[in-house]
Symmetry: C2
Subunit: 183 residues, 2 copies
């Protein structure tokens, strides 16, 4: 009888990834509940987005934990992270663009924590000599977000096979498009 809050959030995430302007009614139907019930659990669209944001942050931090960013080569840590985050990539792509229009308002501090952890990984790679130092950790972090969003949309629209998601992102981010003699 009781609505599964987590199921509602994941349905909403899946829908909003495809159509970021979906109405509350569409969100409710996608979750298989009525608009009234949706409002009983989330005061309004804003509250829903905030809940999705919290979910996105939670999943990101879980992926960061599972990827053990401090262990082994930075490149392998990055690969583990992208593998872990894949299932949440669509949600993150939605939140990434949604954040663009929160102009003025301070962004959730959770994102700052996540940014810092990812940037620290790139910095560690630079310090160890694994990564080049002319691309700043902040930019590499930003680029990772952009590639994840592109990858998530490409998968959603059938332009990229889901199984290639991690490989394409990690290989491009780490190795770039240029062919190299020595791997």
């Amino acid at each position: 009888m009781a609505v599964d809050r987590d199921h509602v959030l994941r349905s909403a995430a899946a829908l909003l990834t495809r159509k970021s302007t979906a109405t509350m009614d569409e969100v409710a139907r996608a979750a298989g509940i009525s608009r009234a019930t949706l409002h009983r659990h989330f005061a309004g669209r804003d509250a829903l987005v905030r809940a999705l944001e919290a979910l996105g942050i939670e999943e990101s931090e879980a992926a960061l934990d599972a990827a053990r960013l401090d262990d082994g080569p930075a490149r392998e840590a990055l690969r583990r992270f992208v593998t872990e985050i894949e299932s949440a990539a669509g949600l993150l792509a939605f939140l990434y663009t949604e954040n663009q229009l929160f102009e003025g308002e301070a962004q959730n501090e959770g994102w700052s924590r996540i940014d810092a952890r990812i940037a620290a990984l790139f910095r560690r790679g630079q310090t160890s000599g694994e990564f080049r130092i002319d691309l700043t950790p902040a930019w590499l972090t930003e680029a990772l977000y952009g590639l994840m969003a592109s990858g998530a949309w490409a998968v959603a629209e059938g332009r990229l096979a889901p199984k290639d998601f991690t490989y394409m992102i990690v290989e491009l981010l780490l190795g770039g498009a240029l062919r190299r003699e020595e791997p």
Copy 2:
């Protein structure tokens, strides 16, 4: 007296890059005209977005022409293209996300032409042995869009210096994050 259509479009592009949900009134004020006059030139929000789309396509094709994609090493052609497109990157970032919600409707064929030309550049680079072949031209094209959007937003929000825009995008896309002994 007569309104400068091009000026209106560029104002709208600049505003919508920052705030994609801006109202027609905000767009009008940003261009320094009244809402009534804006409606005299663009029947509605949809028509405005279509006009912006046409502008984005026009600027993209102009950049493609100016970059002479068929000349010299593919990597240099790519660098020329990103340099040429930089001034329109914000507009393209807006259109890139806006396209996500045109589900169902066929996208403007102009984008198909542009996609094809960029993908052809990557394919040329692969054929010549310059680029690796395990990353598909379609994905490299998608990734380029994603990085341009990330770059444009990062610049708009002050996280990236405008002068570094081209370098960061091209270097990451071509060379990746890994440090290499031989350049």
